[in-house]
Symmetry: C2
Subunit: 251 residues, 2 copies
């Protein structure tokens, strides 16, 4: 039986993490260690300037998991260093409410938890569903996660690569299948709402609209738009090798 660590960035109370943990229990021992509140768009943040609190969280009259007063990356680090008896065999982060495609991958707490796992030498999957509705049916996404956990060993991925999975919020019979994709060029057109608070002081609130820049059918954004489950392998070799020679000549 596998030891599976489950986390997310929507917080331990979300519907997505409940569906995910439930679906994975048939495959092994599932431990849930997740933020005690919404942590969307935290990126790969760590909590360093204050301590972390851990509380036991119950659902359906039974122990569900550990709620941590930190970010998704904190949850993975603390789980591995302190809360688990042994290193997990795999980390699954999600099910996020809302896609993590295109540029969103950089801001995503869901993906950052999977990244932290990879950094600690643990295989990892991030899984997101294209709906912000807390009542959305998570069953296709949950089954997709379970399928990938089962298959993971056979995939023989490099240890530095995680799977970023995005599932359209469609009834199962309308999902067209799996597509192996690239991180797309989608980005946000930022706008800030400027308003006055009750004291008459201005504040700014980030809004914006998401643009699918490319119509490459192999991008994650386009694949989910067309009804496919998009699976993108992600790694963190950030050095721009091509620029190195250029800089050596010019600096």
């Amino acid at each position: 039986m596998m030891n599976i660590l489950v986390t997310n960035d929507d917080g331990i109370t979300s519907a997505g993490i409940y569906a995910l943990a439930t679906a994975l229990r048939s495959l092994g021992t599932v431990t849930v260690v997740a933020p005690d509140r919404q942590q969307s768009a935290v990126g790969h943040a760590l909590t360093v300037s204050e301590p972390l609190r851990v509380t036991r969280f119950w659902r359906d009259n039974q122990f569900f998991g550990y709620a941590v007063s930190g970010t998704p990356a904190d949850c993975i680090k603390l789980a591995v260093a302190r809360l688990l008896d042994r290193k997990p065999d795999i980390v699954v982060s999600g099910i996020n409410h809302g896609y993590n495609t295109g540029i969103n991958v950089l801001y995503s707490g869901t993906v950052s938890a999977a990244t932290e796992a990879i950094l600690l030498g643990i295989p990892a999957i991030a899984i997101s569903l294209g709906s912000f509705d807390e009542e959305v049916d998570c069953s296709v996404a949950a089954r997709t996660a379970a399928y990938l956990v089962e298959q993971y060993h056979n995939l023989e991925l490099p240890p530095s690569t995680l799977l970023n999975v995005n599932v359209p919020a469609l009834p199962e019979d309308q999902v067209k299948g799996i597509r192996i994709t690239r991180q797309g060029q989608g980005y946000w057109n930022d706008t800030y709402h400027e308003r006055l608070d009750p004291m008459g002081r201005p504040y700014y609130w980030l809004a914006g609209t998401y643009n699918h820049l490319d119509d490459d059918p192999n991008s994650d954004d386009v694949a989910v738009d067309r009804g496919y489950i998009a699976i993108t392998p992600i790694h963190y070799q950030l050095t721009d090798e091509k620029a190195i020679e250029l800089l050596k000549r010019r600096l």
Copy 2:
């Protein structure tokens, strides 16, 4: 004259951002938009669930810049969308107190501000100094930043590439020169201190020691250790292209 946007993650009160902004004023119009408090290890976080406040911050009896109640990435987005009259020609983030080499690049608010600039189509430099001492001499790092801003146009870097610069905290005559480097394999051995608060409840606080995994002389970690200024070109093409074919065969 250039329009230069300066930010950091140590906050607008830090010594490093003061030295940086001062050094760049001879090259153009400098606007400082920086977090109103320490934001280390925030990664590429955005503030989405609450509004941002902007206050005018004064130093030496003159206006120094805008203090924002958010992350370094928030500062760049808000500056470009709302606070500046025109898109800056370049963003410089720093001078960070402490290296952003190896794995730290992923957690770094300093680098994330430069990343956000690149995402918005603005050339960017992140600059860090290998000392946490607020009284450290920032002059070599500040001059390095000014030199790179002057040279940037000639480098003809791809628009998706930023420069991550790390400067050893040495007197100028002991700095051995510039080295073009790769992001190293350095990582943290996590430990958490577990203590009891005054109410007797446990809390966990992240500590750890940093490991230079590789002795590749071309890694950023090794270069700064040996007294060189390390310049690493960083980009955000996170798709693992090699894994795509592998997944297509196996899923």
